[in-house]
Symmetry: C2
Subunit: 191 residues, 2 copies
Amino acid sequence: MNEPNTGLRSRLVDVGVELVATEGVQALSLREIARRAGVSHGAPRRYFPTHLELLSAIARRGFEELAGRGAAALGDGTASPREQIATLGRVYLDFALTHRGMHELMFRHDLLRSDRLGLRDASLPVFSLLVDLVGRTRPDADARLVAGALLANLYGIAQLWTWGSLQLTTGADSVVPLLDAVLEAHLGREW
Amino acid sequence: MNEPNTGLRSRLVDVGVELVATEGVQALSLREIARRAGVSHGAPRRYFPTHLELLSAIARRGFEELAGRGAAALGDGTASPREQIATLGRVYLDFALTHRGMHELMFRHDLLRSDRLGLRDASLPVFSLLVDLVGRTRPDADARLVAGALLANLYGIAQLWTWGSLQLTTGADSVVPLLDAVLEAHLGREW
DNA sequence: AGGACGGGTAGACAGTGTCTACTCGCCGTG
DNA sequence: CACGGCGAGTAGACACTGTCTACCCGTCCT
């Protein structure tokens, strides 16, 4: 009926992406995805031997989407390194807060425990880009260390903000001040 | 046989704490906890109407344990504010990395979504303490904002370190350099 | 003595992920 | 053309989960 021959494999992932956005991460049961894709509950097994592998494929879509947004926002990359880092931070936080279910899925412990080389290396290129940018912004410091700390900070803010802890405690109604504070902390005052 | 009359309620939580430490968070099914406590699977329902409430009670033990360690490490509180913050950071990271299952449980999204006023206010006093310490270390800045950013950074480092991302990328074999970098970033260079 | 009741048992139910036997249609080869 | 294999999906079983409900049994109170 709707796009019949897309191939079941990608259709299952499509359904999953849609489902996690509308219903949340707890709705991503194997059988529910199969139902919405219009196939029996045994069908996904041909493409994804286990439920976790299907979830990983859905999460990978999230990483790809995020990487695409980052690349688009960076444009030709003529902005200053510091400005590029700020852009990436904004893009990431915006993505995390507008796609909460997907963001939660992308960093689920059980997904990251298995799939050791699947999701991890999806986030590795963006990290080396970050290392490069940090290195050009703060030539004095250990770029990998600072980039790691910065990444952890962005992730932590996305999480704490998502479940409202930071709203209550900092009293802010937007992450922007927090993001600015984080950038200033790790990269130095914005001259 | 073993401590018979502790009251089933606390015994269930005991079993859960033990179980999450030895087997991980995925072993915390209602029925498994009941089995290990030597009761039928319907028994917990008298004290915890739902599985999530039992999990929340177990997680609460984690927050209490962490708060206890923090208080013990602070001692009489005569150290400098900066030193106290560093101590709290060390205690938190050490706890998170040695009690990975419990730490994962404490910050599970489904627990934090419900239980709105149960777990959250367990972590609120430590946050206001942090705000106070930050305010005395950096009187120039918005203490709540800096404390929030710092807390998010510690949390993010605990998570990323747990699943190995930071080890691979930063190449460090200990969190200590990262913790130092984070403290320096948010609180300024250590004079 | 008898009845209420806290506290635990046991079974049912719907839902889940995995496994296995099977069916159906298509394609290439004899 | 017939036929065998095979990719792809179906359907049912299994063990397990969380929740709900009916029941039971001992202890206390009157």
